[in-house]
Symmetry: C2
Subunit: 510 residues, 2 copies
């Protein structure tokens, strides 16, 4: 290998230099040989880095985010956080990995999707799969019995990435949960209000907030004659109704899950129902259904929930939907899911964005971590932020709107050479005043290039310094959008910038 030859040469040259120095040889001579040595070392570095070449990519199912994408993401996350804060939520953080045992037995079949860390000695660790299990671990570990918290962070699933459907192996979750022993449906109704506010603030109307109840689902299946040990697997078939027509789901129930046609038909009559309070009342008069205690409990709960939704102003978007089942085993009460309605603006095409938020009540998860099985009742919602990003990125692309990736207010430019010092002095003055300012990192940049930069980045104001301006103690102040320039005295500059920024802001051109 070339690098081995080089290493040998370097060793020899190093020895040679050392000998010269030991012999207190002439300095110039030593310096010459040191330079050769450094040159050889540089070659070695180069050859080694060439040897390191490989396909540059991010891991499968993951991606980088560019400044443009980050600008959208930050703006969306800030809006979502503002709603969580509006409802008094605190935030916590947990490590990105957990002891593997913490995750074991919480996700059923999906456990195979958990990323494990290599055993490098010490503890056996896995990357978190969601934020709910770490939250439950946090509550149990710290003996916290009530908290209202949000958590926005990345989670990891070794899923088969479907980029078109917005499914990744690394993605954000954005959770809000209320833990504590409270009265029925009060925190539950607030979770729904939060989803309602978030989708409204993100201008994702129209949407539907589907609600159902685990006890009602169980009671309904019982009434239809489904054996109790098939409840969960039939639920997961029902859960497919948002993507598949009833006929297909029915076929699965009969052929794969072993129901009789009669039983499947009875389920079909129920799960195709959705509506509001009238539907609850109608079902409370269903003489078959109300033989099931759990069905009645579920219906009474939904009735109360809808009452609270009316008081909180969300009822217009809420749909009581008997087909809503949701996959996760740990739900014990209300479940809900938000779906966007209608077409994407892009080319009038229908895009199936599916569910953009979902959640429910899980009263027994914390107990799984407590040594005395002490439970902390919880209800929460997870915002499907990656799908929302995809929808909003699409909308933005369709609208041809630009999104700013930095927040610079003033660009300090120079019109002639050798003014970098003057530029820096002015930048300093403006930074000290709190403005967001940048200038070129070239010593003598062309004015045109500087002004083009302002237009490219939508920087509203440019301050231009030239020699004549310096003599007169003025600057040129340029409004970038209109390309108009005025002369402003240095003593008025701060005031004038403030005034124009305010104007530009109120014209919506910040």
């Amino acid at each position: 290998m070339a690098s081995e030859g080089l290493q040998e040469q370097i060793k020899l040259q190093g020895d040679f230099v050392r000998k010269l120095k030991a012999a207190k040889e002439n300095k110039d001579r030593i310096e010459e040989e040191v330079a050769k040595l450094l040159e050889l070392k540089a070659q070695l570095n180069d050859s080694q880095s060439v040897a390191q070449k490989f396909t540059l990519k991010t891991p499968k199912g993951t991606r980088d985010f560019s400044p443009q994408q980050m600008a959208i993401r930050s703006s969306v996350m800030n809006k979502i956080m503002s709603v969580f804060k509006k409802h008094g939520a605190e935030t916590i953080d947990t490590p990105v990995f957990e002891l593997k045992e913490v995750l074991t037995g919480k996700y059923g079949e999906d456990s195979k999707l958990i990323y494990d860390l290599k055993d490098q000695g010490g503890e056996i660790l896995s990357l978190r799969y969601d934020l709910t299990v770490p939250f439950a671990r946090y509550l149990a570990m710290n003996k916290i019995t009530n908290i209202k918290r949000y958590h926005i962070a990345k989670v990891y699933r070794r899923d088969n990435p479907s980029i078109t459907r917005g499914r990744y192996r690394e993605f954000y979750q954005c959770d809000f949960d209320i833990a504590g022993t409270y009265d029925p449906m009060i925190p539950d109704a607030e979770c729904i209000r939060i989803v309602y506010e978030i989708l409204s603030i993100l201008e994702l109307k129209p949407f539907t907030l589907k609600v159902n109840h685990r006890l009602l689902l169980d009671g309904m299946l019982e009434t239809c004659g489904v054996p109790a040990d098939k409840f969960r697997s039939i639920c997961s078939a029902v859960d497919k109704l948002d993507k598949s027509p009833w006929d297909e789901v029915k076929k699965e129930m009969i052929e794969e899950k072993g129901l009789t046609e009669d039983v499947a038909n009875r389920i079909g009559e129920y799960v195709q129902l959705n509506g509001g309070r009238q539907l609850v009342d109608k079902l409370l008069e269903d003489s078959e259904l109300i033989k099931s205690k759990s069905a009645v409990q579920g219906l009474e709960a939904i009735k109360l929930l809808l009452e609270y939704c009316e008081l909180l102003g969300t009822l217009d978007a809420v749909s009581f939907d008997l087909s809503l089942a949701r996959g996760l085993d740990y739900y014990t009460g209300v479940i809900y899911e938000a779906v966007l309605i209608g077409k994407d603006s892009k080319e009038g095409d229908d895009i199936s964005v599916g569910s953009v938020a979902g959640g429910g009540r899980y009263d027994n998860l914390v107990g799984m971590f407590d040594s005395k099985n002490k439970n902390v009742p919880c209800v929460g919602v997870s915002i499907g932020i990656e799908r929302i990003f995809a929808v909003l990125e699409g909308k933005l692309a369709a609208s041809n709107k630009k999104i700013r990736t930095n927040e610079v207010q003033v660009f300090v430019a120079t019109a002639q050479k050798n003014l970098v010092g003057e530029r820096m002095k002015l930048c300093r003055e403006l930074w000290d005043e709190g403005f967001k300012v940048e200038h070129s990192y070239k010593k003598n940049p062309k004015l045109l290039v500087q002004l083009q930069h302002c237009e490219e980045y939508d920087i509203p104001l440019a301050v231009i310094i030239g020699e004549s301006e310096l003599q007169k103690n003025v600057v040129k102040l340029r409004e970038v959008p209109t390309r108009t320039e005025v002369e402003v005295s240095r003593s008025d500059l701060i005031m004038e910038i403030n005034r124009r920024l305010k104007n530009l802001m109120s014209n919506g051109a910040s």
Copy 2:
């Protein structure tokens, strides 16, 4: 095992229920048996979760952050981000893991601290060790030749955690870098200005910004007679001067690194120097030193840097320090480090917080990822945010100040029973107006408990509804800090809340 017995019982009971249903038995009878089945299943879940008990902890070297800690962290991060944005930075994000090859050969000895993911089929992955290498990978992969970006995210090192010294295995890095071919020292001086602004805004004065230059270090070592192949190892000995006295470092140089006493003494004369522009001028007159071209190049660079620092208003905190060496191999030009000066306020004790920020120029890293070795010159700074958190948490604890963990402005309380609906209606009204509002999730909470909650969470205003208030169409508005109450008509409520919040804000009691 108990759970096996239960599973058998469940199977039998399930079969029994199915038989009853197949026989179209009396509904009540079936329901009774289904209930028994569900009870058995619940027992099984309990017994299984008991079997899952283990020590509840976070992985070694990691921790959860409570709402109190998160409130401090968010506030610090927001301040740091505001400075980055003030200088026109955009932000990007990269995955938490990279192909292992990306990290290979970048961290020297420290490579052993990299966390690897288990090979579960597919790519071989490692958790990121810092944000600089992923940044360089991002630039090379996307052929980006100039960008000014910040990135705040977690990195991972399988280090031996020293909690007292604030070293963890999962911690935040907070990086700002300027990539692009620009003129000497202009972006470098801005990085120093950014550190200056950040430490000022975080009220961490007094601090010193040490600067040095890799070329000067090399030239200085050359002048002293250090063999070129020992430059890096002698540098890493010099780097210890911030923690160890010169005598110890000298001993290491002689006994471990094989320098003669004479050579070590000559190094000692240089590395104990620090100062400002006079020192640069003095060294430029050092007839030995200036025989080294690289020493002269380094000195000229520092001279220009100090000139720019004066223009940018940071010179008072900058110290040209020949003992600053910094560990990382990839630096090629200016290096710098910020150290806090003085005692911690806590008990008057000295706390060694060491370096709270550091960085430098690395012009060859991006080229290591480019197939044609095309370089993108970079200079950047990393804010040691975990150490800063530790210092600020200590200060806060010492000051006995409370930090709010939520931002609620108005708590809606009820004075009698059965008013939960009225509470919800008012909450809705206030949320619709944009206020941050919460209420109790109990149906009939005690008034005292509600008011205690307000005091505990420093919520400034409480609106109290009682039956008599409802009849008169008024509410009681309570200022929590002063415990004063006034009656306000419902139609004036919004205006009155706005007015009082503004007052409380200007009194600094938000």
